[in-house]
Symmetry: C2
Subunit: 225 residues, 2 copies
DNA sequence: ACAGTAGTTAATATCGATATTTTTTAAAAA
DNA sequence: TTTTTAAAAAATATCGATATTAACTACTGT
């Protein structure tokens, strides 16, 4: 059984449901669907070239995750955007990520420092290659994930990731703000320095400000857009 | 279309998938399945008297929620119990619920106080009716939900509920500890008093202790059981 | 006896068709 | 015109059957 898979098939072990789950999740976060929009299942079937059963399973997972609303007998909707919810998400991010940061500073070892430096470097390089937004987005996500990874709490990381996905829906829909964007980029480097020196107090303050600045940008998605 | 539904049908608008989701969720929290057990889908079909499609959708939701593990091409498993995860869950509960409590004390109004008193009363009455454990469980859950409800953060409440469900898996599997149980019951009443007086500092300390005591009980589920 | 392997069984994941429910459209009544 | 009602259309949810994958068993060779 050598090379029996067509080129378009994904890695072995991937099921159709899990593939369409990932694809749909990405598209939801990227804002490819209008907020509040009702998803037409038959249209999704064509779009993702997948049958009804795996598609519905993916939709159910996404609803349980909070990236879709599910209403009995009337299908799935993209959740609406609201400034109130964005505030909720942002404030909770500040609290949870600061919690995780504190623990990460205690638990993080040399290996972590290396990975953090690497992630930071990848992020700054991805910055310059304009036009490849998705690459930057991935590097950005990985940086923040690496920063908090050693915090030791599986559930805390899970919730933070979930909030991050929610937050990104807003941020990616908002118009770019080059001014704040530059400041945000600089903060990533500063966070690494503070992490290496384990200056938890300053780092917490900086991370909180980082989220607050991002929040300012993300707010742009709520203005009658 | 009057009374066209058979007696065993649930409220209108309920779909087969959502019904089996609720039933399965309850059974998982109640420990009706062995930890680590692989779920035989065909057996579940008979047990819940439901077809394959709605059953699989329910399983997918539960996996996304964290009450099941899903492995591609090899079905669904009940997550194993571990003392480490219980510690993670418990510590996070302390932090998140104390956060919510603080905000609830600020936002809570007279209506909240009334509902809290009512919930507390129901809980103490449910206590005495032995043999009706499920009734007490429901009253208990509602009490804790009411206590934190006015905190104003949709996502915080969501995460707390999720952790609560995880925690209860352990607690309900653990052998009963009448000694601690009495103390826990007493704490519910004390929490109400502190809430009415908005004594946030004492209340936080008490809630933290409440969770810690429950944790002690829940640990019993991890011992080679 | 043991490791490796083909063949068999059982389970999962998916497809195609159908039944139910909601939404839309059109007609009838106030 | 507005509201109600009824019929038609569209969409969701579910069923039954099938294909695909993993787990198991018996065999072969060493």
């Amino acid at each position: 059984m050598i090379n029996s898979q067509p080129a378009e098939m994904a890695a072995s072990g991937e099921t159709a449901a899990s593939q369409v789950f990932s694809a749909l999740k990405q598209d939801l976060i990227r804002g490819r669907f209008a907020a509040g929009e009702k998803l037409a299942i038959s249209a999704l079937k064509e779009r993702y070239e997948v049958g009804l059963s795996p598609l519905r399973e993916a939709l159910n997972r996404l609803a349980a995750y909070g990236l879709l609303e599910q209403h009995n007998q009337r299908g799935f909707r993209v959740p609406p955007l609201s400034a109130e919810e964005l505030e909720d998400i942002s404030r909770l991010r500040m609290q949870l990520e600061c919690m995780a940061l504190t623990q990460a500073f205690q638990e993080g070892d040399a290996e972590w420092e290396s990975q953090l430096l690497a992630a930071s470097h990848r992020l700054s390089r991805a910055n310059k290659a304009q036009g490849e937004i998705e690459q930057w987005e991935q590097a950005h996500q990985r940086f923040h994930r690496t920063l908090l990874a050693p915090c030791g709490s599986h559930w805390l990381l899970r919730f933070i990731e979930q909030l991050h996905d929610q937050f990104d829906r807003y941020r990616r829909l908002a118009p770019g703000n080059p001014e704040i964007r530059d400041r945000l980029d600089a903060q990533h480097g500063e966070l690494v320095e503070l992490a290496l020196d384990r200056r938890i107090h300053d780092a917490r303050y900086l991370l909180e400000d980082h989220i607050r600045q991002s929040w300012e940008v993300a707010k742009g998605a709520c203005e009658q857009g």
